[in-house]
């Protein structure tokens, strides 16, 4: 088993490939392309496409294909969460202190903020004024899938790509699944369960890791406040992108719609409530340590 890890997108990337050795050129390509993606789409990089419309007037603008793909998914999630999930949330996060310099100490009690309106058609973005995008909620899943495709193209089909805790896993060389422990929200060395991944994506989210003063990074665009209804959630789906979209829906969508989300995104899920009880979809395949 060959493992490689590196930092990018503000988190730790860890790849496991079921071979003796991954050629150096491929390692280099993986790191290079991942950093390129970070540079192009991170809101923490001033020159990124995410920041391109920070001072723009209302209008229609051309955007790159990857951004269009991500925004199209985000647009749909915005619709099915009734506006609660909005990747235009970046300026609110900045006002709350989670800006490019991590000015956490300036965190106000509450923020008066109006969600920007934006839409995507083809590779054209239409906005109603300045907007900054935070694609963190779905972008890692998107890139995880891209890395998996890259490895398979290089004849390395048996792998697990972990992008800061979200992941996609094919199969081990012997056909067996990858065994993944699910971190207990808020308890670093504890697991709440285990799941076996076999050509599946997994996304995990919690309110603890990116938390400052009375804020955490999961902010509802409709209320302008961080979520309180759950401590964390997890989802499995055929791709990491879909799993990532599912956790975003769980964090921000209406519970009555959870079933519809599972159908749309072909996902199963798990939610930890504030009292540490779990809400688990019927098709959840993992073991739970209750």
């Amino acid at each position: 088993m060959f493992d490689l890890s590196f930092e990018s997108m503000g988190t730790l990337w860890q790849l496991s490939v079921d071979v003796e050795k991954v050629p150096d050129e491929i390692i280099a390509e993986i790191k290079e392309k991942t950093n390129e993606f970070d540079q192009q789409y991170s809101r923490f990089i001033p020159t990124s496409e995410a920041n391109k419309f920070r001072n723009s007037v209302a209008g229609t603008y051309p955007i790159s294909k990857p951004l269009a793909e991500m925004l199209k998914a985000a647009q749909h999630l915005n619709k099915i969460t009734d506006g609660a999930f909005n990747v235009g949330i970046a300026t609110l996060l900045e006002e709350a202190g989670y800006d490019q310099e991590y000015n956490f100490q300036k965190a106000p009690e509450s923020i008066d903020w109006k969600p920007p309106h934006w839409s995507v058609k083809g590779t054209e973005l239409t906005i109603d004024g300045p907007v900054v995008f935070d694609i963190g909620g779905i972008g890692k899943g998107y890139w995880i899938d891209e890395l998996s495709k890259m490895l398979t193209k290089h004849n390395l089909p048996n792998h697990l790509v972990d992008g800061g805790g979200d992941m996609y896993a094919t199969q081990k060389k012997d056909g067996s699944s990858w065994r993944v422990a699910l971190e207990y929200p808020g308890k670093k060395d504890m697991a709440m369960g285990v799941i076996e991944l076999n050509n599946q994506g997994l996304a995990v989210s919690d309110i603890f890791k990116r938390k400052w003063k009375n804020w955490n990074h999961l902010v509802n665009a409709k209320t302008g406040k961080p979520i309180e209804a759950m401590l964390g959630n997890a989802a499995t789906a055929p791709t990491a992108f879909l799993a990532d979209q599912m956790t975003s829906c769980l964090s921000f969508g209406q519970p009555e719609k959870y079933f519809d989300y599972t159908e749309e995104l072909q996902a199963e899920y798990l939610i930890m409530k504030p009292d540490h009880r779990l809400l688990v979809s019927r098709g959840w395949s993992g073991e739970l340590f209750d």
């Binding site: 503000g10 730790l12 860890q14 496991s16 000015n103 805790g165 990858w178 697991a191 964390g232 340590f289």
Partner: protein
């Protein structure tokens, strides 16, 4: 049956009985009524004297109501005896609709107890740990600075 449906049914019965009382010549009568989607207000029931209907009278009413799936057509057939009492009632679903996909999988399972969890170090054969994304250098440093200030 749910409360709103029974209220609806009562309203339908009341209105159909009133109609029946109004036209004694006609035999089993059909009327179509479209009721509002919210449960209508209960109007006071007419007194017994205005409600005498011929014995063994059958009254059929077709109406619509809003179900979670759609506007449903439903029929009620009531048999009323000479004292105006309903002796039999039948409902007929007049449109077939796949009402709601209440599959077993629709409802997520809520576990009854708080999760105890296990120590990661106690787990065997784990390939990876999945969790909310790890934060790195700059983020952690800023958090430390914040904590130092508080």
């Amino acid at each position: 049956m749910p409360k709103s449906t029974s209220l609806l049914l009562s309203a339908v019965i009341v209105s159909s009985l009133l109609l029946a009382a109004c036209s004694p010549q006609a035999p089993a009568e059909s009327t179509e009524t479209t009721l509002p989607t919210s449960a209508p207000e209960m109007t006071p029931a007419p007194t017994e004297s205005s409600m005498v209907a011929p014995a063994g009278k059958e009254v059929t009413v077709k109406t619509k109501y809003q179900s979670p799936a759609a506007m449903e057509d439903v029929g009620f057939t009531l048999v009323i005896d000479e004292d105006g009492l309903i002796t039999d009632a039948k409902t007929e679903v007049l449109t077939t609709q796949e009402i709601s996909k209440v599959r077993q999988t629709k409802f997520a399972e809520e576990l009854p107890a708080a999760v105890v969890g296990k120590k990661l170090s106690e787990l065997t054969k784990i390939d990876r740990v999945g969790g909310s994304s790890l934060t790195t250098g700059a983020f952690n440093k800023a958090l430390e600075e914040l904590k130092a200030q508080i």
